[in-house]
């Protein structure tokens, strides 16, 4: 029979181990990605891998330059944000600041529920319903292109941005608003000069997380972006973002081959990009917390 103090200690340390699980998995992901993917950097050269555009993984000699894929990911993500940020932030402001509470209690959960719609369903919609319209509208040979991907990703990022921005705006203490109103500011002036500046870093967090979701999104771009590894010089042309490349080609790449390593190499680049996004989001979040709690 263990003495209760020892028992408590054992429990505490076991729980600590569990608490570290996320970090362990994160570290595990890094180790595995580099273990499987780093050899390709040595073979091709990291610079050539990232900044040349010849992606011919199955040719002889093969080309492993991901520049076009990387550019496609970035272009499609930026395009998605051009749509999602104004719509998302405006909606969040309206929900948190203007909408009467009884409507808010319906609208906010609805948006959260929509955030749970699986990406493959957006992919299906984009592929079979939106893309024929795009094709006809612009008179294109195919409606599966960067533009369609941008629209679908923008729509997908919307609930994330709305929900998190709304949280940020709601977290601004009521006393800030009351003070401004008491000084004679209208509700609009209060919103523009007091609420939004205070909530700004929280909104930035929401936008960065929305971007992270868009750049890492796989199924939708796999289904709607068209799949051609061209440089995205024209958004009406098919492209092949990094995530789509991995998902489309991993099934055919023999384990341990150069192609397999190159796909893990892409995952390394993708992982680093999202890691940077997350760190920035985290920093903005910390700033926001300080601001709201009154510096």
């Amino acid at each position: 029979m263990l003495n209760w103090k020892t028992k408590e200690k054992v429990i505490k340390n076991t729980l600590l181990f569990f608490a570290f699980s996320s970090i362990l998995f994160l570290a595990g992901i890094i180790v595995v990605l580099f273990n499987e993917g780093a050899p390709i950097f040595a073979k091709v050269g990291i610079f050539k891998f990232m900044f040349t555009g010849d992606w011919y993984p199955t040719y002889d000699p093969a080309g492993f330059g991901i520049y076009n894929l990387l550019a496609a990911s970035i272009v499609v993500t930026i395009g998605a944000m051009v749509f999602a940020v104004p719509f998302g932030v405006a909606s969040a402001v309206y929900i948190s600041y203007i909408l009467p509470k009884r409507f808010k209690n319906i609208v906010k959960p609805t948006i959260e529920m929509l955030a749970g719609v699986p990406s493959v369903i957006y992919g299906l919609f984009g592929m079979k319903i939106l893309s024929p319209y795009i094709k006809e509208l612009f008179g294109l040979p195919t409606g599966l292109n960067a533009l369609t991907a941008m629209i679908m990703l923008g729509i997908m990022a919307l609930p994330t941005i709305v929900s998190l921005s709304e949280d940020a705006i709601t977290a601004v203490p009521k006393s800030f608003r009351d003070a401004s109103l008491a000084l004679g500011g209208t509700r609009l002036e209060t919103m523009v000069r007091v609420i939004l500046p205070t909530a700004s870093s929280g909104i930035v967090t929401a936008i960065i997380l929305g971007m992270g979701r868009a750049i890492g999104e796989t199924m939708t771009v796999l289904m709607v972006a068209g799949g051609a590894s061209l440089f995205p010089s024209n958004i009406l042309k098919p492209v092949r973002p990094m995530t789509a490349t991995i998902a489309a080609e991993m099934g055919e790449a023999p384990v341990g081959s150069d192609h397999y390593q190159a796909l893990f190499g892409i995952a390394i680049i993708l992982f680093i990009i999202t890691l940077i996004f997350n760190i920035f989001a985290d920093m903005a979040q910390q700033r926001f917390k300080k601001k709201v709690s009154g510096e």
Partner: protein, 288 residues
Amino acid sequence: MESKLIKRKLTEKVIFNILGLFLWISIAILGIIIFFIFKRGIGVISWEFITSMPANGMTEGGIFPAILGSFYLVSGSILFATPLGVFAAIYMTEYAKKGRLIRLIRIGVNNLAGVPSVVFGLFGLAVFVKYLNFGVSILSGALTLAIVILPTIIRASEEALISVPDEYRESSLALGATKWQTIKNVVLPAAIPGILTGCILGVGRVAGETAPIIFTAATFFSMKLPNSVFSEVMALPYHIYALVTTGTFPAKQVPFAYGTAVVLLVLVLLINLAAIILRIRYSKKFSN
């Protein structure tokens, strides 16, 4: 002076209405997507569609194996992720002092939540399918998905534990209970509904994940139902993807894809709705 105030009020009204327009357009767009999926898929749904095996190269029959496969994958992942997530949350809320350690753990959780789903897929492929030699199987898929939802479960459990009032802990400690006894007998039972909400949200997320299972668990077509954790399985989200991108009879397959999408969508929306209702009820419990 008077007219200036009127002008300010008018500007306010115009701008507020524009913001409102943005919101309603956003909701309308999301609504249209769901509407179209239902409109095209609802006609396919029948008892036979849900309960029978696929036939004739996915052009007839139903999607029963995909429903069952998704059920196995989701249950497996929850089984792995829940104890891990709940224990992690207990440490973070009940034991850890505010400071560097907890910051580090939280950064880990946030970053894990932000990892793209296809990267989880590669991790699962390398570790579970290859190193551990589980093959493309339910086990590999469930383990991969468990890592995907771990952050969701940790965060929800953390929130649930934090919302338990300190009086609960103090009363128990004052009666002579040890810290662990207090957690086990007082704090945890009070937090169960909140933790459950997190698990339900996890279920909703995992049911729709496709990229993590493409290389670790999923198969487009299997003649028989899975008979062990080492069998590969059909799964709803992957089935949708496969129906519209592979196969030889697109004209017959696409309606099936819509039908499958309706089944998945209804499942996911109902699951999320349940979680939200539970959360609203639960948040009332401690607020008065």
